[in-house]
């Protein structure tokens, strides 16, 4: 799926490097030193138990939360995000779990919310629907019409529209927070396929999920977090589901696990 395998990536392919990221909320240390790398065209699974700090880390990367210490490098350049739009300017997109869609607006209006194509003072609906249709067709998103109201779509369709919206900003990095939670089986398939398609376009995708079987379907690599730290980084080929569970729960496994940090 990825143009180059994770092992053969050139340094120029590195999109994001996080090192030693920390974040405290008062006395609570949410992040206690996280390292993470993401390459172009790669799908990285970010796993860990509840409270491990996955969502906080992704909010840091998306500019919604400001970290205390550590370094974020995007394309090798150190950056610091004070607002979500700073992160957007560095072409980092995120789809939150609640999707941020408007139920009573149609598909095209949701895709272009906040940046509707205009002709004079008026919305150019024709252009908006044509561009929306092109975006959806490119990503093979299964909706019957761009005029459909979002509220009438299934959970999976809504998820794919939300991802399509994020992708239409042409991000280099796309963060997906639990995109397959609470979806029917067939819908999970279409979301996973979409993730693969997006990565194939050269976008680096970070996937947060509790559905471990999904990780084996689309991910190239897994980063494991435990109590605010990144504790393991492994190619998916070296793992099976039992090893992965062991990495997440930090219970000793009979087999060898490879860890970048102890």
């Amino acid at each position: 799926m990825a143009p180059t395998g994770p092992g053969t990536a050139l340094p120029g392919d590195l999109l994001v490097e996080l090192s030693g990221i920390t974040k405290s909320y008062g006395p609570v240390k949410s992040l206690r030193g996280v390292d993470l790398t993401l390459r172009r065209g790669e799908v990285l699974g970010l796993v860990g138990d509840n409270g491990a700090g996955k969502s906080t880390l992704m909010k840091v990367l998306a500019g919604a939360v400001q970290h205390d210490d550590g370094e974020i490098r995007v394309h090798g350049e150190p950056v610091r995000f004070s607002t979500p739009s700073d992160a957007q300017a560095e072409k980092i997109g995120i789809v939150y779990q609640d999707l941020a869609l408007c139920d009573t607006l149609d598909v095209a209006s949701n895709l272009f919310l906040g940046r509707e194509p205009k002709r004079g003072a008026f919305i150019d609906r024709r252009a908006m629907h044509e561009q929306a249709a092109r975006i959806l067709a490119d990503l093979h998103v299964k909706v019957t019409s761009t005029h459909q109201e979002i509220g009438t779509l299934s959970g999976g369709q809504r998820q794919t529209v939300a991802i399509a919206r994020a992708v239409s900003f042409a991000p280099d990095v796309l963060i997906l927070d639990e995109p397959t939670a609470a979806l029917a089986v067939a819908e999970v398939e279409s979301v996973l396929k979409l993730i693969g398609d997006v990565a194939a376009q050269g976008v680096g995708v970070i996937l947060i999920t509790h559905r471990l079987q999904d990780l084996f379907r689309v991910c190239d690599r897994i980063t494991v977090m435990y109590e605010g730290q990144s504790v393991d980084d492994a190619a998916i080929a070296d793992l099976d589901i039992e090893k992965l569970v062991g990495l997440i729960t930090r219970t000793p496994q009979p087999t060898r696990t490879e860890g970048s940090r102890a």
Binding site: D98, A100, L101, C102, D103, S109, F122, A133, A137, S145
Partner: protein
């Protein structure tokens, strides 16, 4: 319904066209509005048959004048309700603007200045409502309930409850009696406001954001839209419309009274909701508001012609409101029922 399997992807070209194809007129029509249009037509036909005076040009022109203020404020209220807010203060703003405008004319202000002042007073109260609602986070229901009381109170205080006459030589008074093609200035202005509302709600970003805010304000905010400003603008718009209505009512009556437009806000909200705009926000229709305003005023006008006790009018209007909202809520069941009937036939 949505679980049907779509066939394997067609080539990109035709698929893009298929996706972007406009839906049929039937699919796009707000069904609640359609039901209302039917009810309005039925009521219209009923009164036309019941009283020969109803279908005369003089009465229809009079009806258009009566509908005018409700329609002007109703269009603006459609934006407020679609954005998930409510404005209870419009009746008080109408009375305030009517009374104070009349006083300004008595004080010797020129009509042109008074007209500008009337609009600014309405807009000002609307922005007060909007600022407290959008920027201070107080529910619009509470804010406008307070201004409902304060604004009419100020007008009463200022005029001591007396009706202030407007000299018939002033331009404002002439505006009140002016006719063009047999219809009053109020009717024509209301028509212009309807067209403006249609364009604003359905063809501009502002309208799009108003609908979006009513559906999910947080989603619109995350899309980078200034949600607070849009919300304040919607409430400012309804204040402005109330100011315009207040001026036109004073002009038509030839006097401004702090006691006018009692319960006006409820008539307006009823018209908007009857038309199919959702009180929960996120769904609004200007055409519906036009129909809703017509229906409420046709009932009032028709019952007056039939010399029914005037006390019966609010009872019938209220009953129609409940009936129609009930039909709209059960609309899907009703459509299903009709479908079943036609299939069997």
């Amino acid at each position: 319904m949505s679980t049907t399997q779509t066939p394997p992807e067609a080539p990109a070209g035709p698929s893009v066209q298929r996706l972007a194809r406009q839906r049929s007129l039937w699919e796009r029509t707000n069904k609640a509005t359609l039901v209302m249009a039917g009810v309005t037509l039925a009521v219209f036909v009923f009164f036309a048959a019941a009283d020969s005076a109803f279908l005369t040009f003089a009465n229809l022109s009079n009806l258009a004048t009566q509908v005018g203020p409700v329609l002007i404020v109703g269009v603006a209220m459609t934006f407020v309700i679609t954005a998930g807010q409510i404005d209870l203060s419009v009746g008080s703003i109408v009375a305030f603007v009517a009374a104070i405008s009349a006083q300004l004319l008595v004080a010797g202000w020129d009509s042109s200045l008074v007209m500008v002042a009337a609009l600014l007073m309405g807009l000002g109260w609307g922005l007060v409502n909007g600022w407290f609602t959008a920027y201070q986070g107080i529910p619009a229901f509470i804010v406008t309930l307070a201004t409902l009381s304060v604004v009419r109170g100020l007008a009463l205080f200022q005029t001591e409850g007396f009706s202030v006459p407007i000299a018939s030589t002033t331009f404002v008074a002439k505006l009140g009696t002016a006719r063009w093609l047999g219809f009053s200035a109020t009717a024509w202005i209301a028509l212009a406001v309807v067209v403006l509302g249609l364009v604003l709600l359905h063809a501009t970003r502002f309208g799009q954001y108003v609908i979006g805010i009513g559906a999910a304000a947080e989603s619109v905010r995350r899309a980078g839209v200034n949600v607070k400003l849009v919300t304040m603008a919607a409430l400012g718009f309804s204040g402005l419309a109330a100011g315009l209505a207040g001026l036109l009512i004073a002009a038509r009556l030839g006097s401004g009274s702090a006691n006018s437009a009692q319960g006006f806000e409820l008539t307006v909200i009823a018209a908007v909701v009857l038309g199919g705009t959702s009180l929960l926000g996120g769904r609004g229709t200007i055409v519906g508001t036009l129909i809703g305003a017509l229906l409420t005023q046709i009932i009032a006008n028709g019952l007056t012609l039939l010399s029914v006790s005037p006390y019966l009018t609010p009872i019938i209007t209220g009953a129609v409101l409940v009936l129609v909202v009930w039909v709209n809520l059960r609309g899907r069941d009703l459509a299903w029922f009709v479908q079943r009937l036609t299939r069997r036939a």
